[in-house]
Amino acid sequence: MIEMHWVVIVILLPLTGAVVCFLWPRQTVVSGLITAVGLFASVLGLTWQVLEQGALRYAVGGWGAPLGIDLYVDGLSLLMLIVTAVVGLAISVYSSAYFRLDRAKHFWPLWLFLWAALNALFLSADIFNIYVTLELMGLAAVALVALSGGANALTAAMRYLLVSLLGSLFYLMGVALLYHSYGSVDIAILSQRVESSPAVWVAIGLMVAGLLLKTALFPLHFWLPPAHSSAPAPVSALLSALVVKASFYILLRLWLEVFPLTNTVPGQFALGQFGLAQILGLLGAAAVLWGGIQALRQTRLKLLVAYSTVLQIGYLFLAFPLASIIGWKAALYLLLAHAVAKTAMFMAAGNILFYGGHDRIADLDRVAQRLPLTLSAFGLAGISLMGLPPSGGFIAKWLLLEAAIRSGQWWWGLMLIVGGLLTGAYVFKVIGYAFTRSDLPHEPGFVPKRMEWVALVMALLAIVLGLFAPLPLALLEIGSPFGESLR
């Protein structure tokens, strides 16, 4: 049987789709949907291949590192690809009803380019190649935010572009220092060669700073709420679910493989990384508090959901000070659960906006009776974000709590409870207004059924994730990206 190059297909297919959508704008929705379905199937193919054969390394151009560029799939990158495929398919279906043709013809090529960039990023084993994919992703994301037009969206897109370019330049400077220290940009080779040196420390500082800016960890989150709230709803969903996670993924990958303390003499380096991990944990905790409080204070639904993303990003960083396999798994499960739930939530917000023409929380005016599916989606997604059983969010928080207690740092677990309470408060605030009558009656618009159902399916998926946790967690073991031994 001929070996299928799924690794390559999941990058080339969305690019081809983008080109086709660009060439024939009139058929753009059909081409886009076909690509999305094909891509979903290809990721399944890749999953099957990796399950059969274990972690894969693919030498593009046949050269192999260090001269060429390698692609690498292990459990970690596979999970990211699957999250992207699931969320991507849902967003594609939602968008096919959301955009009219005049904007669909711009949306589809940009979105498929973004999808290609995400897949390429998760597959790359080369830190310079990751820079190129970061730029590809950043420019696509910015153009998508600007798609809604209007002063707020354009200003937000401009700020997002500058932040994104700045983050990439910090990252690239780090790449330059690492390359000139060790003569390679391949992650696997670097992980063998890296030792504690001033250049490596400065490179770590630059790359971490640049990636935190892109991931919008408090206090570098200032650009996220305007960008994520003013974008068209499907774009908000994919930014919150996928794009901020991509830079988190790179940070995690570098943290685990390029910056680790295991292969050097314990001492200064280990201590340094320990300190940095504590700082990241503290920032994460601050993000949970700040994002939660800000979300509560918002009067606009989409801004509320955007601040909820700031909070959820904070959770991810609580795993750094724990530094255990179970902690990392918990963080990734949280990432998965958040991606699915937040997609549902932004879609629900988009439906409400579509229906009522505004997203002022105080004037939701009995939206519960009018859009029951949408409001159920919002509520179910909220349950997962709060971390109530049996949702995916619950399993993730449970694991993180376990990791915190095992490592003797229970106080990080406390943040999960605080975050859960804050999330509960703002979710119920929205639901409360959704049942009450408002003084300002709506001019009801028509919401296509497809948009309601996709939101609901994603919300149900966020709940169901709590029941099938062992599967994704076992997937993460492939290629043991978190190392073999426990600390």
Partner: protein, 229 residues
């Protein structure tokens, strides 16, 4: 009148920023100076394989063979920037000042020269400094000059033909790169015997795509839509 726009930040914050950035600069300088005084990097590998790379200019070998995948994605970035610009529509593109006689005759003189230089750079890239990016940008400069002189793309070419030209680079990389998998190779793995020819093909389409993309970026809006409105 000539407010540079920096007055919004109070002096104390600016001083704090200067201190922080000075600390950062000292750290960066220290990092650079601490690097080993000699390091060959990957030049040994790059030279070792130059005979099977299809070209003799090592930079071209890296760009179009060893790390051709980067170049492929980078053409994607260029196309994407254009998609982004087109999706924005164009603010203030309509009114173009009419070109003076100087610009007109200048473009008549310079455009053929630029095209020739571009052709030379494209051909020379295999063995001397030059290559697709340089050739493409010089050709793009010729396009910009034509635009400045008042030339506009023929309405019949502004739709699909223009779009095909824009995606040519990405499409050929994807297509040929994928075809190379079929005989049991990898994506973008050039058999040494054909490497030279394939690189020339890639460089030619990349040159055209880069030139047209850059010209289109300069124009700002989708010419097809401009006509429609």
């Amino acid at each position: 009148m000539n407010n540079t726009g920096e007055n919004t930040i109070p002096l104390s914050l600016r001083l704090l920023l200067m201190v922080l950035l000075t600390v950062m600069a000292v750290g960066l300088a220290y990092a650079v100076l601490s690097l080993p005084a000699q390091a060959p990097g990957l030049s040994v590998y790059a030279v070792e394989n130059i005979n099977i790379s299809g070209v003799s200019n090592p930079v071209t070998a890296v760009l179009l063979n060893y790390r051709a995948y980067d170049t492929f994605l980078e053409l994607g970035v260029l196309l994407l920037a254009l998609l982004g610009v087109w999706s924005l529509g164009c603010a203030g593109c309509q009114h173009q000042s009419s070109p003076g006689p100087v610009l007109d005759s200048l473009s008549r003189l310079l455009v053929p020269i630029l095209i020739m230089v571009s052709g030379y750079l494209l051909w020379a890239g295999a063995h001397a400094p030059g290559g697709a990016f340089q050739a493409g940008s010089v050709l793009g400069a010729a396009g910009v000059l034509l635009l400045l002189a008042g030339w506009r793309i023929h309405a019949g070419l502004a739709g699909l033909p223009l779009r095909i030209a824009l995606v040519l680079g990405v499409a050929v990389f994807a297509l040929v790169g994928a075809v190379l998998i079929l005989p049991g190779g990898q994506l973008l793995a050039f058999p040494p015997a054909y490497a030279g020819g394939l690189i020339l093909l890639f460089e030619t389409v990349a040159t055209l795509s880069i030139a047209i993309s850059l010209t289109a970026l300069f124009l700002g809006a989708d010419p097809d839509e401009e006509d429609a409105s």
